[in-house]
Symmetry: C2
Subunit: 551 residues, 2 copies
Amino acid sequence: MKSDIDIARKANLKNIEEIAKQIGISDEFLEPFGKYIAKVDTKILKTLENKKDGKLILVTAMTPTPAGEGKTTTSIGLSMALNKIGKKSIVTLREPSLGPVFGIKGGAAGGGYSQVLPMENINLHFTGDIHAVSAAHNLLSAVIDAHIKFGNELGIDPAKIYWKRTMDMNDRALRQIVVGLGGSANGYPREDGFIITAASEIMAILCLAKDITDLKERISNIVVAQSYDKKLIKVKDLKIQGAMAALLRDAIKPNLVQTIENTPAFIHGGPFANIAHGTNSIIATKMALKLADYVVTEAGFAADLGAEKFLDFVAPTAGYDVNVVVIVATIKALKYHGGLKKNELDKENVEAMIKGLENLKTHIENLKKYNVPVVVTLNVFNTDTQKELEEFSKHCETPHALVYAFEKGGEGAIDLANLVLENIVENQYTPLIKNDMSLEEKIKILAKEIYRARDVIYTDTAKSKLRFLKKHGYDTLPVIIAKTQSSISDDPKKINAPKDYDFTIRNFELSAGAGFVVALAGDIMRMPGLSKIPNAVNIDIDEDGNIVGLS
Amino acid sequence: MKSDIDIARKANLKNIEEIAKQIGISDEFLEPFGKYIAKVDTKILKTLENKKDGKLILVTAMTPTPAGEGKTTTSIGLSMALNKIGKKSIVTLREPSLGPVFGIKGGAAGGGYSQVLPMENINLHFTGDIHAVSAAHNLLSAVIDAHIKFGNELGIDPAKIYWKRTMDMNDRALRQIVVGLGGSANGYPREDGFIITAASEIMAILCLAKDITDLKERISNIVVAQSYDKKLIKVKDLKIQGAMAALLRDAIKPNLVQTIENTPAFIHGGPFANIAHGTNSIIATKMALKLADYVVTEAGFAADLGAEKFLDFVAPTAGYDVNVVVIVATIKALKYHGGLKKNELDKENVEAMIKGLENLKTHIENLKKYNVPVVVTLNVFNTDTQKELEEFSKHCETPHALVYAFEKGGEGAIDLANLVLENIVENQYTPLIKNDMSLEEKIKILAKEIYRARDVIYTDTAKSKLRFLKKHGYDTLPVIIAKTQSSISDDPKKINAPKDYDFTIRNFELSAGAGFVVALAGDIMRMPGLSKIPNAVNIDIDEDGNIVGLS
C-alpha cells in the first residue's frame, strides 16, 4: 500500500479558481492562498440569499475505538461518489490542529484515495485560521493581566479569572502554571494554564458566528472573570472585542480546497467535540448548501457527542434542515465493543462482532429520535473476513452499504451514495432538546434518551455552579455535554451499550460568548500532551521542500 | 492630515502578479495570498545565479528618541523616489510583530504617503511567517518537557534548560512562570518564561538561512539545555529539526507586496535588533538584489545597533557588497540629544539642535570606519522651522538631503535619491570585525570604535559564561551586542555623544543555531508588556471587514 503522501503527490489537482468556478464562485469572491487553496469572501452569501439550500448529509460514527473508524475518509469518499454519479456535492470538514499532527495522529486530512489536498498545507498552518484564533485569545489574556497591573479599575479578582491562555500544541507542561513571577514589573503571581486552541471559546465562536458583526457581538459577551464584588467581567468591559474581531477578519472566511478527485471541500474551523460543538463553521456549511445540491459534513467523535450536538445545537443555531444521517461502523470497532482487546481485532470473530452491534444499534435508535433517516456504512478494512461482512449485513437491520473509500476513493463509496440518495427526506428533522427548557431538563433528556442512564447525579460543585448560572441568567442556554468519547456513558470503561447507570455532572462551564453552557460529565482534557516518541520525529522536509511523515 | 488608513484605502494597488512581472518574477514562482500579497518561491534564485547583483542601500538612523524618526517611512520613500527617477528599485523590510501593533505603535508599515500595503494584512498575521516561527519554537519546548517526563534518556537537567517558550504578544505576565504544576501527569515543575517571537532564535535563523537545508542544519545546532553530566543538548539530539523545518517551509519564502506608489517591497522576517541582528531575511534581500538595480533595506534601531550588526555580521554572512549608507535624522531628535525634554521638541531651538548634531556626527564617523559612503537625510516634520532647517544644512558637513516622504511619498524623496546615486561606490565596504578574532577582541573593538567607551568591564557572570563558551568551542562566533537603543553607550540615560566610560558586559547568551553569541550590555527586554490603555482598544472592524486603529 502506498503512503498517503505518495498518493497525494500523484493526484491531478486543478487550480483552485477552476474548482471554485465548478460551483459558481467567481474570482471576485476568491482570495487564493497559492494555487490550490483559497478563502471565499463571505460577501458571496448576500448574492446567494434567494437560492434554495442543497441537502445536508451528516456523517457520524459508532463509539470510537483505538483502531480508528475512518469517518473523515468516509465523508470525503461519499462526497466524491456523489459527484461521480452526477450529483453536485461539496464536503465540509474541520481544520486539523497542530497538536495531534505532531502528537500521534500525524494529520487529519482523510487517508488513502480519500484525501483533501494539499495535505501538507492543510495539516501545517493551512490559511492561518487557528493561529488567528490563538492570537485573539491570547490578546485577551494579556489585556486582563495588564488591566489588573495598571490599577484594576474593574476590580477583577485574580483568583476568579476564568480565561486561560491558549496554544496550538500538545504541551502538558502548560496545563497548570503560575504566571506573573519576578516582581511587580511582571504583574502579580497567579495560577493559570494553557488550553489547546481547538478548545478555545474563540474557536467555538468562529464556527458559530453568522458574520463579522455577530462574531464581534459574541466575543464581547465572553465572561472572562468575576470582580471582587461578584460582578461578571466581560470582554466588552475591557473594550477589545474590536481588536479581537479584527484579528479574525480573514479567519472567518471559509477555506476552499479539493479532494484527490477534485471534489470541492470547505475546511474551516476546528472546535473540540467535547468542550465545544465539534463541527466545522456554520458559515462554511451554509455557503456549501448554497453552492451544491448535496453537502456532506462530519461531526466529531461518536453520534452521542458530535451528532447530538449537531442536531440539538448547531443545526437549530444555523437553521439547517438535516436530510439524512450516515453512521460509520467498522468490523474492528464492532468486535472491540463485543469485548475483544485491541490486539485481537485482526482475527475473525463473528460472535464478538454481533455482540458489538448493540453499540451501533443504540446510536441508530438515538438518531431516529431526531426524525432523521439513518443509513449505516461499514468502512471495510483488508483484515475483515468475508464471513464477518456477510454476517454484518445479515444482522444490521438498518439500510447499509459497504465502503472502500480509503482503497478506491469515490468509486468505493458509490453504493453508499446511492443508499444516501434513496433515504433523503425533507423537513422532518426535529431537535430532541427544546431551547426554553432549563439546563437540568435538557441534561435529563440527554442522559435518558441518548446516554441511556437511569438518573442524573449532580456533585456539590455542579449544584453550586448551577446556582451561579441561574443567578446570572444563563440557565436556559443550550447545553454542551463534555464527556468521554470512548463510551455512550460517562465512563470510558463501559463499552458497547451501557444502560441503567447514574450519569454524573461534576461541574459546569459558561461559554457566554459562544452561547452555551458546558456540563462536565468527566475529566476533559483541554491540553493534550506529546507521547514518548511523538510523530514530530518522523516528520522531515527535503531540499525541494517536500514534507514526509504526515498522514 | 488624513490618517494612514484613509490614505492607504485610496491607493491604486496593482495585482501582485503585475508587480511581480515588473521585476521579472514569472507566475510559476509566485504563490499569491489574496490579490495583493504573494510569496516568492526560493527556487527562482537558481534561475538568477548568473545575474549581477544590484546596489545595496542601507538605511539606518541616529539614536532614537520618544518622538520617532521615521526610518521605515524614509526607506519606503527613497525606494519610490528611485523608481520615480527611472531606476529599478525594491525596498526590503522586516515584518511587524503583533505585540507592538496591540501595544503602543499600532503598526509598522511606514506612514502617510510612504506606506507598504495592504497595511492591515501586513500588520495582522500577514502570510503567517511569525506564527510559523512561534509554532516551530514551541514544538521544541513541548518536546523537551515530554522527553524529560518519559525517562529523560539524554539526562537533561531541568534547571539548565536555556530554551524558553514564545508568543507573538506583549504579555509581561509570561516573562517568569512556573510550568508543569498539578502532579506527574503534567510533567514536573520548573521555572520557565516566554519571550516574544521576534526575539526567538528561530526568527534569527529564518532570516540568516540560505535555503531550507541550511535552515534545518542551523536548527539542528541550537543548544537547548545542558545535561546532568554537563554535555550540551542540541535539537539534533531530540531529532525534531525536520519537523521544525517543515513548519517553516513556507515561512522561508519572501513576501512580495507593494508600496502606495506600486514600488515592489519584500517584507520578510522580523528579528529584534538587540538580542538578534535586526534586519529582514537574507533570502529576501538576495532575491531583491537579483531583481532590481537598487535595493533599499532598513536596519533596526540606530546605527550603533542595526547598522553595526548589518555591516559586521549580516553582510559578511550573506556576501553582500554595501554600496552606500543613509542615516536618518530629525530636527526633533537632534534637539532631544541637545538636551531638550520630550515636550519641548515642538519649539524652535537652534542651539539645542546644533548641540545634538554630536550624536549624528558620532554615528557618521562610526559608519565611515566600514569604508562606506554615508549620506544624511533629514526627515522633515511640520514643526521644524525654516531657521532650524537652514542651520542644520549649514552645520551638517556630510552630504545631506531633506525628505518629505510622509507627506509627499516618492516625490518628497527625490533629492535624497539623487544624492544616494551620486555617492554609491562598489567593492569598498569592509567589516570592522574580523571573523577569527576572539569574542573579547571583537567586543573591545566595538566598545572603543563604535560605542566610544574607554574600556570593557566583564561581570563575574560574564567571565564565567565566557569560560563556558570557550570550553565548548563557541568563542570565535560572531558577536551580537545587546544593549540599549536609547544611547550610543550601554546606559540609556547618556544621550548625545557619550565617551570615556566603561562598557560593561553582564552576561553572554549562545545562539549556536543562528551562529552568534549575544553579549548582554544591559537589561534586554525579550517580552514587552501592554500599556495601561493599549492600542488594542482603538482597533475595530466594521461589518464590511474594514479595520480601523492601525497606523
